[in-house]
Symmetry: C2
Subunit: 458 residues, 2 copies
């Protein structure tokens, strides 16, 4: 047996160790994710149809279920070098504090101004938009990280950027707008009266705090009705999981460098961008029968797509203007109770992850909000980093597992994704400190009502 | 000539390359910084006198003008490994954008939750307080980074932490309080009615927005009147510059690794903690005649201690309860016009830096606020990082110099300190975007009036 190398607190890859290609997990999936369907005909969306909404090269990536590795263009690799590699951190302080025999690692994606992993796909999507000669892009943002990331990428490349921000986040995070403005983006709270779909939603649900689903509808409408614009999305899509595979690839390279084999990999899951990216190469090994890992998705109990949703075709947006996707969903008009993890408020889940979950290749758990913030604070005080509420869902489950190992004595190796920082979430932390956190969990009756409105697809 | 190695975008030291001792620049100064004086007797403060306010071991460090290297205790080095080394970034993107032949590097200290370099001294001071068996510490904070840093260090070590926060920052940065609360600290806006000196200042200046000088007085009063407490300070003091030398030491090791010799080193200067830390080892070489560097301090035009102050003994605080320090000062009751660089609003300057400046070993420039934010935004859009207003003072001068090199063709190597991030400064950025920035510069008459009230020391 090789002598174990001393493992540093933080593993940073050298530039020449950084991934040169994204990994497309679909290539190794026996059961491919179900195709997007045209909402009118219920036939698989063609590249031509998708091209009206998305950039050409991204459409190719969206539809490509076969190419295992897709080269990262040099321009994107150079941009990655500006804020990557992200560190893989050995949580020595946390292990010591918990007195656990478990070995805890986290891949920390928060060391950039977007505050999360979102920049990995934002720069890729903006790059292809620029390459196609577009004027600009439109998008939605929930927690604000994706909007910020896209603003940064667009500022760098000189593209116009229009962001529809879920109203509840716009109000809870007043300063996010200002960051996006610093990067030259225009930001509109959604639903708004700037689009037909926004006006319709406002008329039907006056006083709504919005949802990712609403904001997507608005952003898509603006993209398809303005020449030189396309829509870009920060999660759910296959292309996004492809770009985010850089997280998992770096993690795997760093672990391999020190001969570390994880037993359990944990990630928070909203639309699936972080989780899908983090687990991709590990899932690939699992699919190819080369290794086995326990993979855990963590979602908020207030928006439990995996654990209480159904696997069915549904609209990706509230306005029903987007293609249908087969995914674990709560129904496209589901609007969760106010939950401060804005990035986890989406009604559906990545089709890739949905298929993997349906095939029993990963687990999912739902956790209530107050418990998540307790874990966040416990983590912050020991590891220094103030985590985003989204990321803290993964922290909660990692801490629980490490504490369980303390009882059993298991020397389990746990890796979790720490997707970002909570600097713009202090309203949420304040509510937590004041004991005013909302832990509302939807009833079975409520979920059944939303489910009854799913589209009927043969 | 040795072949130039390819320089990565970010240079991270390996753990075994990290400094094991702080560097005490006083050991190499021919003209030592003037001693702190007892405000009553005007005699140099003894260790015993200082021990009533500061921790014992920190008093030793404060008074030690001779020991060149002071070992960093293992516990602190382990804590440093949690968030250090900080990257030395080669600003390739900025160079490209500016089309300058200058080579630009910045040492980025913002990748931790305090958002700045302040954690480097906070953990050291908290460590010695803990070692001495104290219950807790008190301090002041301006921009909030120091208070956050100290809260983090105290949470880690299990010490109580009371923070007096300059009222204008408390109001401009509502969420900073919440971060400190997450780390278990209590935060009071200063001046407050919780101390005698606070009540006095409020009576004399009703409606004052506060200053670091006021907040220091309050924190010192609480420390000396509560058994088991001592006061700690985030800047100005010799001990702080000692701890912050870790910034410069890491920078030097990283540069040496790639055979890079800087021509110019730039840092923002409020009380001098960052600048003093960054330049220490370079200044040491300069003092020993081993190398020469152009060293530039950048301060806000609204609070121009170096460029328009006098070098004289003055009180460190508004309440005049602290020892007298010989430094470049605007007068201890000087309260600058609202300036969003809360960390640069101090009326005085580190005695070490003051002596070096008086000896002609460094330069200083003052820059107006709007120009600083213009530079901040220009930098953010190219290098990704949203800088703190304080740090942006250094950016402004670095950009000016790089643009000058574009004209002259000089391939100058510029290193500047990027002390932190501006995530909690979005009120300031909003004012900038709205064109409502205050560029008030004190008149000569105003400065003369404050100067007239300096204490008379023979």
């Amino acid at each position: 047996m090789a002598e174990e190398k001393k493992i540093p607190y933080k593993i940073y890859l050298e530039e020449n160790e950084m991934p040169q290609a994204w990994y497309n997990v679909r290539a190794d999936m026996k059961n491919k994710p179900a195709p997007l369907l045209n909402p009118g005909t219920h036939q698989p969306m063609t590249a031509e149809e998708l091209g009206g909404v998305f950039c050409e090269e991204l459409v190719q990536q969206e539809l490509d279920n076969d190419t295992r590795y897709i080269e990262i263009p040099q321009e994107i690799r150079d941009f990655y070098k500006m804020y990557r590699p992200s560190p893989l951190v050995r949580a020595y302080c946390l292990e010591e504090k918990l007195q656990t025999p478990a070995k805890i690692y986290y891949k920390f994606e928060g060391n950039n101004t977007s505050g999360s992993h979102k920049l990995n796909s934002a720069i890729a999507q903006a790059y292809y938009a620029k390459k196609q000669g577009l004027k600009g892009v439109t998008t939605e943002t929930g927690a604000g990280q994706w909007g910020t990331a896209l603003s940064m990428a667009c500022a760098y490349l000189g593209l116009d950027c229009k962001v529809y921000m879920v109203k509840v986040s716009y109000e809870q995070k007043p300063f996010r707008r200002e960051v996006m403005r610093t990067y030259g983006a225009s930001v509109v709270p959604s639903p708004s009266d700037t689009t037909a779909v926004g006006r319709k939603i406002l008329a039907e649900h006056p006083g709504t705090t919005g949802s990712l689903g609403c904001a997507i509808s608005e952003a898509v409408e603006v993209a398809v009705s303005n020449p030189g614009y396309r829509y870009v999305l920060g999660s759910v899509l296959n292309q996004v999981l492809l770009h985010q595979s850089v997280i998992g690839l770096e993690t795997k390279i760093a672990l391999d460098k020190y001969n570390i084999k994880p037993d359990m990999i944990i990630g928070c899951a909203g639309g699936g961008s972080n989780l899908g990216g983090l687990i991709s190469p590990f899932m690939g090994e699992k699919l190819r029968g080369e290794a086995d890992y326990e993979i855990v998705a963590v979602e908020p109990a207030s928006c439990p797509s995996f654990t209480r949703g159904v696997y069915a075709y549904d609209f990706c947006d509230t306005g029903m203007v987007c293609p249908l996707a087969k995914m674990y969903t709560l129904g496209s008009d589901f609007i969760p109770a106010p939950n401060h993890a804005g990035g986890l408020r989406y009604h559906g889940m990545s089709p890739i992850l949905s298929q993997l979950y349906a095939d029993g290749l990963m687990k999912a758990v739902a956790v209530p909000q107050t418990a998540v913030f307790e874990a966040a604070e416990e983590f912050a005080r020991v590891e220094g980093i103030l985590p985003a509420p989204e990321s803290s869902h993964a922290i909660k489950v990692a801490l629980d597992e490490a504490k369980r190992c303390r009882e059993t004595g298991e020397e389990k190796t746990i890796v979790f994704g720490l997707t970002g920082t909570g600097y713009f979430d202090m309203v949420a932390y304040e509510k937590f400190h004041d004991g005013k956190m909302d832990d509302y969990i939807p009833t079975d009756e409520e979920l059944a009502a939303f489910r009854a409105r799913l589209p009927q697809v043969d």
